[in-house]
Amino acid sequence: MFTWACILLGGPLAAFAVLAAAAPLRRTGRPAALLSIAGMGTACVAAVGLAVTWSARPEPAVADVVWAATSRMPAIRFGLLVDGLAVCMALVVSLVALLVQVYSLGYLHDEPKPSLGRYYAWQSLFAFSMLGLVLASSVLQTYVFWELVGLCSFLLIGFWYRRKEAARAALKAFWTTRLGDVGFALGIVVLWGSARTLSWDGLFSAAAGGRLGGMALGLGVTGLFLGAMGKSAQFPLHIWLPDAMEGPTPVSALIHAATMVAAGVFLMVRSAPLLVRVPDLSAAVLAIGCLTAVLGASMALTERDVKRILAFSTVSQLGMMMAAVGAGAPLAAFFHLVTHAAFKALLFLAAGSLIHALGTNDIFAMGRLWRPMRVTAVYFLLGGLALAGVFPFAGFFSKDAVLAEVLHRGHPVAFAVLLATAALTAFYMTRAFVVVFLGTKKAEAHAHESGALLLAPMGVLALGAVVGGALLEGPIARALSGSLGLAPFSEGGEHGLIVPLLATAAALGGILVGWLGYGSRAFDPGRVAAAAGPLTRAITRRFYVDDVAVAAYRGWLALAAAVGWVDRYVVDGVVNGATVAGEAMAQRLRVLQNGKIQDALYAVGLGFLLLVLLALRGLRG
C-alpha cells in the first residue's frame, strides 16, 4: 500500500525534478508537457491502486521515519498517513490535476515553448506538493507542503508576470495567505509545547487522553484555523482569491477552485477531532463560514468577469464547507469539497473555453453562444446546475448534506443564511448562463467551438458533476469513517424531506428570478440594483474589505518607513556620531604628531622626568 503512495508522490516529483534540472528539455515546450502529463497519469493510476489496496483493510495506516531526533525531547517523525480522508482527497487531486494538465495543453497552445515548459514544471511541483499535503502524517509536514502549494499558487498566478495585474495579484495572494500562515506556525508551536508530538494520531490521542487541552489546545487549533482562513479564502482574508484569477484559467480551475483552496477545509476536516473539543472556536468557524458564504455569493451578483463570478462563488462555497466543519459535520464538508472540486473545475474549464474562443472575460461582451459553442454550453449548464444544487446533480446531495447537518445540530440561523446563499448561488449562475449563452446581444468576437483537447477533460468532470453526488455519498461516508479520528462524526438516520425540499425551493427560486431578470426580462435588474443603492455600492466595492486591507497595508508600509527612518537617522546616527566625534578628537591630537624628532625627544625627556618624580615619591612614601 505504501508502495502505491510512494509512486503517487514520486510521479509528479520526478517530472518536476527532470524539468527543473534539464533546462533544454524544459524549453522544448510540448515534450516537457507530455512528460509532466505522464508523471500525473502515473500518479492517477497510483491513486486508484492506493484506494483499492486501502479499501481491503479500511483503517488508518502510518509509515514514518525519524526526521529530527533530540536527546531531551521526543523525535519529530516524517512519513505518510493513509486513511480514508487522504485516499479520497488524493483521488480527487490527482484526477483533477491530470485533467487540467491535459486541458492546459490545448488552452496554452499559443504560449512560447520555454514558458510552456515552465508552466508544466510548476504544475508538476504543485501536484507533488498537494499530494504530499494530503498524505502528511504530522502537522509540521502538512505545514511544509502547505507552504509549497502556496509557492506554486504564487508562481502560477504570476505566470504571465510581465502583466502588471498578474504580478500584483500573485503578491497579494502570497502575502494574504502568509498572514494566515503565521497563525498556522504559531499554532504548531503551541501544540508542540503542550503535547510534545506533532503527528496527527499523537495529537488526537493526546487530546483524547487529556494531556492536550484547555488554553493550549484552543490556541493551537485557532492557529490552524487562521492558516485555513488564509488558504481557503475565508472572510476577511478572502480578498486574494478574486484577484488570483489573473492566472491562466486552468490554474484557476485546479488550484483556485478544486484543490489548493480546499486545503484549508481539508486541514479543518483533518483536525476536526481537535476542533470539536473547542466549542467557542467551533462557533466562530461556523459564523465565519456563514459570513463568507453569503458575502461571497452577493459579490458574485454584480460581477461582470466570468472568472471572477466563479471565484466569488468558490469563496462562497468554501464558506459553506467551513460552516459545516464549524457545525461539527466534517463529513458533509468533505463531501461538498469533493463534488465542488468536480463541478467548479468543470465551470472554470468551460469558462476557459469561452475565454479561449472569444478573448474576453466580460460576460456582457458575450451572448448567444448556445449555437456556436454547444458542447461548452452544455458543460457550463451541467456545472451550473450542480453548483445551484438542482436535483439530481452532484451539488444537490452535498449541499443538502451540509444544510441538513447544520440544521440538525441546532444552528437555525446559520441554516437560514446558508439557504439564502443557495438561492443567491442559483441566481448568479442563471444570470451568467443566460447572459453568455442565450442573451439578446450577439458576441462581438467570432465564436467557434474549442478542440477535443479542451472538451474531453470537461467531459470527465461533467460526469462527476452529474452523478458524483448520488454515487459518491455512500463510499465517501464509509471511507471517512475509516479515517483518523473521524469515526465519531459519522451521522446516522434520516433527516426527513424538509431540508431537501427547502434547498430545492431555494435553488429553483433563484433560477426563476434569474430567468425573469435576464431571460424573459420581466423586470429590470439594473433598476433593482439602483433601488438598493447603498447595498449595491457596498457589493461593487466588495464590502470595503479590500479598501480596509489596502489601508492596513499602506499603514504598515508607512510604519515600516517610520521605523526605517528611526534606524537610518537615530540608530545609525549614534554610530556615525561616534566615528565623527572620534575623528574630531584625533584631529586635535594630530598636532602632537608633527614628525619632528626633537619634539618627540622632548616628550621622552618629560616622560623620564615624570618617572623619576614618581620613583622619588615612592622612595619617600
Binding site: 604628531q593 608633527n594 614628525g595 619632528k596 624628532i597 626633537q598 625627544l601 622632548y602 625627556g605
Partner: protein, 99 residues
C-alpha cells in the same frame, strides 16, 4: 676624584648632551651632543666599576666606546646622504614619517 663626584660629572655631561640634542638646529651638532651623552654613560660605568672594584664596568665602557665609533661613522654617513638628497642639515626638515 671620588666616584660620587664622577657621577655628578656624568650627570652634568648627560644633561648638557640632552639639552644639545633637543636644542641644536644642525645635524652634526646633534650628533656631537649625542656623543656627550654616550660618554656620560661611559663615565658612570667607570665610576661604578671603580667604586665596587670590579672589571665589568671598565669592559662596558670599552664596548660603549667601540659602539659609539660605529654609530658616529653611520650617523655621519646618513647626514651626508641627507645633505645630498634632501639638501638639508636641519632635523626639523626630516619629517617624512609624520604622514
Amino acid at each position: 676624584m671620588t666616584p660620587s663626584r664622577l657621577l655628578v660629572l656624568s650627570f652634568l655631561l648627560f644633561s648638557i648632551g640632552f639639552y644639545g640634542v633637543l636644542a641644536r638646529r644642525h645635524l652634526v651638532g646633534l650628533l656631537l651632543s649625542l656623543e656627550l651623552m654616550f660618554n656620560a654613560g661611559n663615565l658612570a660605568a667607570v665610576a661604578a666599576a671603580w667604586s665596587y672594584g670590579r672589571a665589568s664596568g671598565f669592559l662596558l665602557a670599552l664596548f660603549g666606546i667601540a659602539v659609539t665609533v660605529a654609530e658616529v661613522a653611520l650617523g655621519l654617513a646618513l647626514f651626508l646622504l641627507a645633505d645630498r638628497v634632501r639638501r638639508t642639515t636641519t632635523p626639523d626638515d626630516l619629517s617624512l614619517l609624520r604622514r
